[in-house]
């Protein structure tokens, strides 16, 4: 009897361990049926043109389209992906750049999401073309005179000669687009020693707020230290982690400390998703990641969506799954 019982326990545990493998990525941590609903929500709200808007029925944009495609691909769903890919291909300009949607004739920050989607769907020609454009997408600071570099450092306390990425062409580099491009380029396989990636990390470190974390990119204005914000801090932490930084990097450690105080029911959905991705990236924050995952799961609505927002739904799905950005 005793050895029989042991055998049953042994077989059960083997089966339990195998189940996620048998079911593939659809098995999330304890809520497979919810994840099905989430994926169904994404599928059902693809626009006729093949893209996705931020909200159901709204016009398609590159960012929600890229993230929804990434989520579907990760969930093993092929239906609708080719239509999505065709949409992004139509958005791609001759230069390789991609703007906010088909109407946009200038590349901008949203191309990070298209790069992730091209990579996921093995659209290597479009991926390489876009990657080349992103690596050549600079802010406007190269044309400014030395006296402005100096006065900027005095008034804003950052070094504008460090290259990052702007949201929009020929403007300033900021924390979020720089982080998003670091994440997407690294995921897409740009070599670790690439100078633009190193410079992007240097910019993040240079723009760290006094008490840890990041805001949009001005840690100081005139005579005042500004507050950091949770969302840019979460995204920048993902970027730092993907580039191999650990809690030993002082800026990472202080950012984690800053972000920890905001984790809770008041944190927004998109921020929960990014902070979950961030905390899953570091060894000392795994426990906090579990806490965030519980709060985020509870935000899932009856239709499977997160806040009825397609971008946030796709991002939350990925954050709650075992999806990881390539390092």
């Amino acid at each position: 009897m005793k050895s029989g019982k042991k055998r049953v326990i042994f077989l059960t545990s083997i089966l339990a361990g195998l189940l996620p493998v048998l079911l593939g990525n659809m098995v999330l941590d304890g809520y497979p049926s919810s994840a099905d609903e989430t994926i169904r929500f994404i599928k059902e709200n693809q626009n006729e043109d093949g893209g996705w808007g931020y909200w159901p029925g709204h016009e398609s944009y590159t960012e929600p389209t890229g993230l929804c495609m990434l989520a579907l691909k990760f969930a093993g769903i092929e239906n609708g992906l080719m239509k999505g890919l065709e949409y992004l291909k139509r958005c791609q300009l001759d230069s390789g750049a991609i703007g906010i949607n088909e109407k946009d004739k200038e590349g901008n920050w949203m191309s990070y999401a298209a790069l992730l989607a091209f990579n996921a769907l093995d659209a290597s020609k479009e991926e390489e073309h876009l990657k080349k454009w992103i690596l050549d997408f600079y802010d406007g600071s190269n044309d400014v005179p030395p006296e402005l570099v100096k006065s900027t450092y005095q008034e804003l306390r950052y070094d504008m000669t460090i290259d990052g990425w702007p949201w929009f062409g020929s403007t300033t580099s900021w924390i979020e687009p720089t982080s998003l491009f670091i994440i997407a380029l690294t995921h897409s396989g740009v070599e670790p020693q690439n100078q633009r990636l190193s410079s992007g990390i240097k910019l993040l470190i240079d723009r760290t707020n006094k008490n840890g974390g990041w805001n949009y990119g001005n840690p100081f204005v005139k005579n005042t230290y500004l507050d950091a914000f949770p969302l840019p801090t979460s995204i920048a932490l993902v970027a730092m982690g993907i580039r191999g930084h650990t809690e030993k990097t002082p800026e990472v450690k202080s950012a984690i400390n800053f972000l920890e105080q905001y984790i809770g029911e008041e944190m927004s959905t998109v921020n929960l998703a990014w902070s979950l991705l961030a905390f899953k990236s570091y060894s000392t924050t795994q426990g906090k990641a579990e806490k965030i995952a519980i709060i985020l799961k509870n935000r899932r609505m009856g239709d499977g969506s997160f806040r009825n927002n397609l971008f946030e739904t796709a991002l939350s799905y990925l954050a709650l799954s075992d999806f990881k950005f390539n390092r």
């Binding site: 946009d104 901008n108 406007g140 402005l148 702007p166 949201w167 300033t172 805001n215």
Partner: protein
């Protein structure tokens, strides 16, 4: 936002000297808008009401709004799609950064009572992509169910490309602008009375920067800074003028505004149909000489209204009764009236 500085300084010398090129801002823009503008300029007088309002208590707010509205040749609201554009930037429990939600609540009720077809609250916050976090904290989400209104994040709206009314050397010859704004019948600008470390002062004219969508231009909306803040303010207001302004001057912000300054009690709302005239009046209440504010001057030169006291008919309270000198950023001390 360093670059805005050099552009701004460069632009200071240019503003007021360059004529606006006459590019049409047609497209989805309502024809009603030009009719309203004609109505505003009748008799070359702009009516501005300074209404004492000591608190954000509902009855007091409603009474103040009723009074001010009646005295200022207001636009017709019945059956109109009304967009209320507050100023929502960031959240702080200590600093009055945003238009107080109680004022917006009173305005929703007021416009619904006047028979508006729809009332929409719309804003595109300038610094934070994370609108959910800020709007929830400042109580704006509660308005949705309480008044059955839509709350639109202009940063994520459907967009349309519009040719702008712009300076000859402008970086902004066309703009992606939100459908909610372009399809509205009335835009009601509801700014907070604040000082501003880059522009000196921020009221209704500057409040329109919030209609520039973040998904196209980023957070902050950096194209505005590279183009020059003052220049961009003029171009935006020339392209999409608001129809009416209600300044939240009950508690404003002085010193290191628009975010890090200190609360300043004034106890008034300032209302009128011409944004420049309302702004000029609010500036006088703050102890600022409107003539010295570069973008006010440029707005005046380009006929977006008038900043001159003789062109403005004041009703209700007098400026002297309510004037409260604001502490300014040291760079803008020259704006102070003597």
């Amino acid at each position: 936002m360093n670059e805005c500085k050099i552009t701004r300084r460069k632009m200071l010398g240019l503003l007021g000297k360059l004529p606006l090129t006459t590019i049409s801002a047609a497209g989805l823009l309502s024809c009603n808008r030009s009719k309203e503008n004609k109505k505003q300029s009748l008799n070359n007088k702009y009516q501005v009401a300074i209404i004492s309002c000591a608190s954000y208590e509902k009855a007091e707010l409603m009474n103040a709004i009723h009074q001010g509205w009646q005295k200022t040749s207001p636009p017709e609201v019945k059956s109109k799609k009304v967009v209320i554009k507050p100023n929502l930037v960031e959240y702080s429990s200590e600093r009055p950064i945003n238009t107080d939600v109680r004022l917006v609540e009173a305005l929703i009720q007021f416009f619904q009572e006047l028979g508006a077809r729809e009332v929409i609250i719309a804003e595109g916050s300038g610094h934070r992509r994370d609108t959910e976090a800020v709007w929830k904290k400042v109580g704006y989400f509660d308005l949705i169910n309480k008044f059955n209104v839509r709350l639109i994040d202009l940063n994520y709206d459907n967009l349309h490309v519009i040719k702008t009314v712009s300076y000859k050397d402008s970086l902004i010859k066309e703009l992606f602008l939100p459908e909610t704004i372009l399809s509205s019948d009335l835009i009601i600008s509801v700014p907070k009375m604040k000082t501003h470390h880059w522009a000196g002062i921020t009221l209704s004219l500057k409040n329109l920067i919030g209609i520039v969508p973040g998904i196209k231009y980023g957070w902050p909306k950096n194209i505005i800074h590279w183009n020059g803040i003052e220049k961009s303010i003029i171009e935006l207001n020339a392209t999409i003028p608001s129809h009416y302004t209600v300044v939240d001057g009950i508690i404003g912000m002085e010193g290191d505004g628009p975010i890090m300054g200190s609360p300043k009690k004034i106890g008034a709302i300032i209302m009128g149909h011409n944004a420049l005239s309302v702004d000029a009046t609010a500036a006088r209440i703050m102890g600022i000489e409107p003539d010295r504010c570069t973008y006010f001057q440029a707005a005046h030169v380009n006929k977006l209204g008038s900043l001159k006291a003789e062109d403005i008919t004041l009703t209700a309270s007098r400026i002297e009764d309510i004037k409260t000198d604001f502490k300014l950023d040291p760079e803008f001390i020259h704006l102070k009236s003597t």
